[in-house]
């Protein structure tokens, strides 16, 4: 078989869900920035699309962290049985076996365990405001700036943990 179940779930987690969330966050951020208007009395068009993009991003982020935590992470952290010398089926043990790759667990994976949940909370807050306030989110500088800040932080966190995931998967893939 070309891809194992573990490999497919890893791709769904990182490329499908996580990648989709990153694109949605980028689109929402761009729209919030581009919709700045000097005339605050006129509602810019597209608040519905913005709400859709933020809701989609938040939903994809929650799916990413849930799939990552409950489906992808268990095989990653599985402990090899005593006497096993081929660690290719046990990614955590594999990266910890070498001092040059131990940081991939101690820093990269440890960061990935919790940080994306924060990103999901931030994206959800913005999605709620985008749906509830629609055009007012674009007309109110304080709401728009706060939404942009939270989305930017969420995007940065997701981008960072995605990069860490790429590094881990490059050295110790879940095949």
């Amino acid at each position: 078989m070309l891809f194992t179940d573990r490999s497919i779930w890893t791709m769904v987690h990182g490329i499908g869900l996580g990648g989709g969330a990153l694109m949605g966050l980028a689109a929402a951020l761009f729209y919030l920035y581009a919709a700045r208007s000097s005339d605050l009395s006129v509602a810019p068009p597209g608040s519905g699309a913005l709400a859709g993009a933020t809701v989609l991003s938040a939903a994809l982020l929650w799916l990413t962290v849930i799939v990552g935590t409950y489906i992808v992470f268990p095989p990653y952290r599985a402990t090899p049985p005593a006497g096993v010398t081929d660690l290719s089926e046990f990614p955590r043990a594999l990266v910890l076996a070498s001092p040059s790759t131990a940081w991939l667990h101690a820093f990269a994976m440890e960061s990935k365990e919790h940080m994306p949940w924060i990103a999901s909370m931030l994206a959800t807050a913005v999605a709620f405001v985008a749906v509830r306030y629609r055009s007012r989110l674009l007309q109110s500088p304080s709401l728009r700036n706060m939404a942009m800040a939270l989305l930017a932080i969420s995007f940065a966190l997701v981008g960072f943990v995605s990069l860490m995931g790429v590094f881990v998967n490059k050295v110790a893939p879940l095949d």
Partner: protein
Amino acid sequence: MATTSVSITSRDVNGSAMAAFAAAGIGACAMGAVVLLNELGLFAAPALYAPAGGVTGRTTLATIVWLMAWAVLHHRWKDREIAPGRIGAVTLMLIALGVLGTLPPVWALL
């Protein structure tokens, strides 16, 4: 004399938005705090799914704190206009603390 009545709904004030933003900050800070307490050996949230380990308990606990904070703040602020400056600053500070708490190099400083 004709009178005009203006209907003010919760969408006309920013309380709901401020509650959502502030709760996100509280949730982020809760995540960092739960992780730090775990690393210090002061509190270990029980694993909800053994194959994934303690991360399931820590993330679930922080998520519950976030949702509870959101519910309380939304209930209290939804019909009010809240000064955004201070809420924004506090929210960003809580997020920064939360993110720092999840960074392994910070654990090494404790």
